[in-house]
């Protein structure tokens, strides 16, 4: 009966053929024991297959918002909940976290705290075992997840033998083995060195491009992510201030919200201040775009 329930909730919800996979309406949340709203009046609509970056200072409510999206709030964290969150057409308040985890998988900051088993394979199997799936199904999904993240050769390593970047990939694989449509990542690169961070971000981008996974990632290092993002959300003091295509958002003055924007954006902005010597039509998002635009102007 339990399995039927999972299967039922996993069916596509789009009654009216709606592609909207995340829908947040007037969301507010106050943690128990605090007297301020961690997030307030948040409205968000994300379509299936979109890549969304969530940026803002530490403590601006990014983590709280992500927790709301996969049901940790209100099921795990207590407090005052306002508004509603629909994930794949299901209200998070009516759905237990283990069902929601199969719709929206969450990856946390610290990779060490997400790996429980003593080998990579066992770790990817961990949530599936918890769900009570049949062994063949578990084996297939573990293989699939290993291949997806290109970590097949780590299969029988123990977590102690992995680098932080590899651990984070295993954590992602383990979450994806539950076959969610949405992947939520809460500052996944914060404990990684720049090269592993870039490597991980490349892997995440590929998940979105190749497998059409809806991705919502909260990050401080935007330079590498922005060219691939469909939307950029800037949060401050628990509210979403901007939510649009990155190019449009970056036209605004977002530096004061603790967002480290790509250098090329700053350069173009400074150039404009000096006085329209270089008429860039749009804000370039990467060095490549910048060079291309510059060549066009010089010619």
């Amino acid at each position: 009966m339990f399995r039927d329930f999972i299967r039922k909730t996993r069916l596509p919800s789009g009654v009216d053929g709606d592609l909207r996979i995340i829908e947040v309406k007037d969301l507010g949340f106050k943690y128990a024991g605090t007297d301020f709203y961690a997030i307030k009046e948040v409205n968000l609509e994300i379509n299936e297959g979109e890549f969304v970056i969530l940026a803002g200072k530490s403590g601006c409510g990014k983590t709280t918002l992500l927790r709301c999206l996969n049901g940790l709030i209100p099921h795990f964290y207590e407090g005052e909940f306002e508004g509603r969150v629909l994930i794949d057409g299901v209200d998070t308040r009516d759905c237990p976290p283990y069902i929601l985890s199969q719709k929206a998988g969450m990856v946390f900051q610290n990779p060490d705290n997400q790996l429980f088993a003593l080998s990579v394979e066992a770790d990817i199997a961990f949530p599936l075992e918890n769900l009570g799936l049949p062994r063949e199904e578990i084996r297939d999904r573990v293989e699939w997840a290993l291949k997806l993240l290109k970590i097949e050769e780590l299969r029988s390593r123990s977590p102690f033998e992995l680098s932080a970047g590899q651990k984070q990939k295993v954590a992602i694989a383990s979450v994806l083995a539950m076959r969610p449509k949405i992947l939520l990542l809460d500052e996944p690169t914060s404990s990684l060195d720049p090269i592993s961070a870039k490597n991980l971000i490349d892997a995440i981008i590929e998940l979105n491009r190749k497998h059409r996974l809806t991705i919502l990632i909260s990050e401080h290092r935007l330079t590498h992510l922005i060219p691939h993002a469909d939307k950029l959300a800037i949060m401050d003091k628990g509210k979403i201030l901007y939510f649009d295509e990155p190019r449009k958002v970056l036209k605004e003055d977002v530096l004061m919200y603790g967002v480290s924007i790509p250098r090329v954006v700053e350069v173009v902005r400074e150039m404009r201040k000096i006085g329209g010597c270089l008429p860039f039509r749009e804000v370039p998002l990467s060095v490549d775009e910048f060079i291309r635009d510059l060549r066009g102007v010089l010619r």
């Binding site: 339990f2 996969n70 940790l72 976290p97 705290n113 429980f116 003593l118 918890n130 769900l131 009570g132």
Partner: protein
């Protein structure tokens, strides 16, 4: 002390013993323990120790195994002295020679006892131990606790080291003074460690929630232990040796030199 622990840690290898089903190995170690407990004779203890050494040699973990034996010397000396001294002062005891012999036998048995489980732990991965516990029908909650302990102990040890280093760099001296003041100096190390552990446990609980821990009452397993013919062979052999030892001890006692 550290030497004993080394002998209880998994040591990678690819021997016959390593490949044996962990349940068979557990049975072998338990049998050694059992026989050592029921027989006090030095001869039997020697046979057991030789057998243990033989298994250690086959599995290629001889050096580690010897370390366990070596590390247990303080305990053995303590047991010997306790036995000897206590009995010396109690009236109505046999002559000194007999007391010496019996104290020696008791201490000698301790070697066999401590070394018996060394074989199991040296050749079984923690993951296999976990699977064994599952097979022994121990509730998953406890198996999970066991696996987590193995998983997170090194991480906590690393954290402890970091805290100790940072407190030392702030001028905290840990190695000076009498035991009581030294103990007091550990407070600035324990407090941050405990705070960190609490914070971590919250994050772990969150991650467990996301990974559907406890979602299904009937948990399934990716890997399961399966007995192969050679495991059965070893198990039967071990059961026979248990039966023989029981027979000669309780049913038809014989005099062992």
């Amino acid at each position: 002390m550290a030497a004993i622990l080394q002998g209880l840690q998994f040591y990678p290898g690819d021997s016959f013993i390593h490949r044996l089903d962990p349940r068979a190995k557990l049975l072998i170690s338990t049998t050694f323990l059992f026989i050592t407990l029921i027989y006090v004779e030095v001869t039997v203890t020697t046979i057991i120790i030789v057998a243990e050494a033989l298994l250690a040699a086959i599995s290629g973990t001889m050096r580690r195994w010897i370390k366990t034996v070596y590390g247990s010397i303080p305990f053995i000396v303590a047991v010997f002295l306790m036995n000897y001294l206590v009995r010396m002062f109690i009236p109505g005891q046999p002559p000194t020679q007999v007391i010496l012999y019996e104290s020696f036998a008791a201490a000698y048995r301790l070697i066999a006892l401590l070394a018996s489980f060394s074989i199991f732990f040296l050749t079984t991965t923690p993951e296999e131990i976990g699977m064994t516990l599952t097979k022994l029908k121990i509730p998953y909650m406890y198996v999970f606790a066991f696996i987590s302990a193995i998983r997170f102990t090194p991480i906590l040890a690393e954290e402890l080291q970091t805290i100790m280093d940072s407190q030392r760099s702030r001028g905290l001296e840990l190695d000076k003074g009498n035991p009581l003041t030294r103990l007091k100096r550990y407070i600035p190390i324990l407090v941050p460690l405990i705070v960190n552990v609490l914070r971590r446990s919250y994050e772990l609980a969150e991650a467990m929630e996301v990974k559907c821990f406890g979602a299904s009452k009937k948990r399934t397993y990716l890997k399961e232990l399966k007995l192969r013919p050679r495991d059965l062979f070893v198990i039967i052999l071990t059961l026979i040796s248990i039966s023989i030892s029981i027979y000669f001890k309780f049913i038809n006692p014989i005099k062992i030199p």
